[in-house]
Symmetry: D2
Subunit: 144 residues, 4 copies
């Protein structure tokens, strides 16, 4: 069982991560150490040619990793990203973006995972971006 | 001499990068293959404890790299980020963030550079984040 | 069907990648865009406490990515790594290391993939390191 | 004043990092939080066309970061790399490689720095590779 629900994440973000609301991020589902999140199309994310800008994709990946971490350690406001590495692989289509997030390691102090981002409805074309990220977590909440 | 001015970057972003305007990014100065850019404080970028969220910092770094690339190749809308790696080094203070951007290599097809981000007025404390990024550029505009 | 066999990789490395032989790298199996490779234990790779040093792990990952690329494009000496990002996740045990390699994207000019490295016989503990890497490939050999 | 000398690093590596000796790494100079290290030409590092293979470059960068960390915290065997990100920027010439290493942050638990690698005698052509890396250090030895 995940240790946090979508409703609890939304409530936490309302309080402490207004960015997530501004971006319109939605949670599709939460597993234990994994989740899928969604960014709806917004005009201000577009670049010339109709593609979605890179920072919006990285922002969605960062949010997804945060949700995946919370799915294992429960509600902890102070989990923070310590590094994020993004590779942009193909031009996203205009439209929503779906991120598949998965923890690879949850340690006592650090969590590490990966995120594959897809243009919604075009998943078969392969990911538009791939992200790895490291989170620092309060030591009493992690696992050894 | 840089091959683009701040006014030309602003005009280009008005047309094709509305994100930059929404974030309030400003250009402090442009060199040849370098620049300094600034992100003003905005409530929606804040995280618990008053710190600035990671995606806002990565977005500023990505913008600064774009400006640094344009400073060498001139106005080219289609330069796109192919990878971005960010390390978050210390908690930013509430307030504006300054990014010092520098190209390390400009090739025929790829540009690569680094960005050091500082809390404005607290530069002596060292960077709050350090970014390296790769840009893909139209081949006829790069250098061999 | 993979477009190269283990024997063909060994022959190619004998000619042009003496490093791989010096390290004792072995190929367990090759799929289409994937492979598993193995590094035997060697005294010179050890660090204090019996753990394996980071460069040896990165070297194995780089080799595995090369094999995974060749499995799709066939024998091409001039494929070269353009970036490699390694996260060390837990202390390897003394002994052999197994790398599971998988291409995420094969484009016309670039291949991108990931590698998970495990201590042989201790795979259930999770990966000791996770690598993402980008390869540049001769344009006529990639796929659009 | 650096907190370790070249002779002390060599002695430490003889005991606990045989890899460094096998690679023939040399220390050119050590500052406080910086150093320059050198890898001599070796036939087994070469790739087709006479270029130097990527793992050898990453290995030199990792060694240089280790020396830069020790220059601030003194002799500590247990400092270990937690992440390393390498971008290969141009084809190295056959011959020795010089790495310029610099700590960007030394915290209580993590050190972070960058390394620029050059073909010896061809520094004006720009770096052949650029590395950023994170080291985990025993908490009692770092700085807050």
């Amino acid at each position: 069982m995940p240790r946090i629900t979508a409703q609890e994440v939304y409530a936490l973000c309302d309080e402490s991560l207004p960015w997530a609301g501004m971006m319109g991020f939605e949670i599709i589902d939460i597993g234990k150490g994994s989740c899928r999140v969604r960014m709806p199309q917004k005009a201000e994310f577009l670049r010339p040619g109709g593609t979605i800008n890179g920072p919006a994709l990285m922002s969605l990946a960062d949010y997804g990793m945060y949700v995946a971490v919370l799915s294992r350690i429960g509600r902890v406001e102070m989990a923070v990203t310590t590094s994020l590495n993004c590779n942009f692989l193909r031009r996203p289509k205009p439209g929503a973006v779906i991120a598949h997030c998965r923890l690879i390691k949850l340690g006592r102090r650090l969590a590490y995972g990966e995120v594959s981002l897809y243009s919604e409805g075009d998943e078969d074309a392969g990911p538009v971006a791939h992200v790895t990220a490291t989170y620092s977590i309060p030591p009493e909440r992690g696992e050894s």
